[in-house]
Symmetry: C2
Subunit: 166 residues, 2 copies
């Protein structure tokens, strides 16, 4: 029972490999559509593929606008430009928003896996002030402590882009 | 009669300056919405501001999908991430699509100005095969010649993003 992967996946993995010296090679831009029918666009970080699939993972905060937008329209397009090799990948698909209230146990496990795969410093962001508000402090999370064994907090959300759902 | 410019413009010019050693610092991602209501996202090149304004210029080919998409929904959002300074600018607004059939003389002049401001090599792309088709040749434009004094060709299109039209 083999799992077929998309022909572009190997090209993308090659691009990641050949641009790996650049930290920003794992960043791409995610476009969504708001309830006003207009596009939004922001930089996010690639958190790997779901095992044996073409599904891309992105971590995000439940309190960001993209969550509301994805409820309105679950379709997104990422634009991934590799600055060293001058390659561009455009991948569109449907996004599954997985927060702590998800009824699917395997999805909750995936979310937990992604939480523990990110650095403690990254996890701290989800305990900080609302990401949509202006920030007065230069280091808003400096007084927050987090036990590294603590599981995903309420604001932590896993987005899974499935390019096969078009 | 001064022209007010947006408060973010100077921050953006500073970012351009501090990232200028990187060729890709003038690239950003442009998100639009298609007639199916889904987002599209691609990398484009910043061609400067319209004089004394906050309006951003982008050159494109009339034969690309984004033209059709902008007819359906003229609103766009650009995401401009500066990889050296870790700064992100998200700018949304309405896009004016200026091709050779535009009835406004001043807009046609702007289009001509943008044509001559781009390199002859860039201009050659607009004489090449349809950008939406697969390309067999490694150097599709190598046999095409262009007199540098020739004005904008039919496929050449100037996009002007006006952040004040929201």
């Amino acid at each position: 029972m083999g799992t077929a992967t998309a022909p572009w996946k190997q090209l993308l993995l090659n691009a990641l490999e050949s641009n790996s010296r650049l930290k920003h090679s794992s960043y791409f831009q995610l476009a969504t559509v708001g309830s006003n029918g207009r596009p939004s666009n922001r930089t996010v970080v690639f958190r790997g593929f779901i095992e044996n699939s073409d599904k891309l993972q992105i971590n995000t905060d439940n309190r960001t606008h993209k969550i509301e937008e994805l409820k309105y329209c679950p379709f997104a397009e990422i634009c991934w430009y590799f600055t060293d090799s001058w390659e561009q990948f455009r991948i569109s698909g449907r996004i599954d928003v997985i927060d702590g209230s998800n009824p699917d146990t395997s999805k909750l496990q995936q979310r937990e896996k992604s939480w523990f795969a990110s650095s403690v410093r990254s996890r701290l962001q989800y305990l900080g002030p609302d990401p949509g508000l202006p920030c007065i402090s230069e280091h808003p999370n400096q007084d927050i402590a987090l036990d590294p064994s603590t599981g995903p907090v309420a604001a932590f959300c896993l987005l899974v882009l499935d390019p096969d759902q078009v």
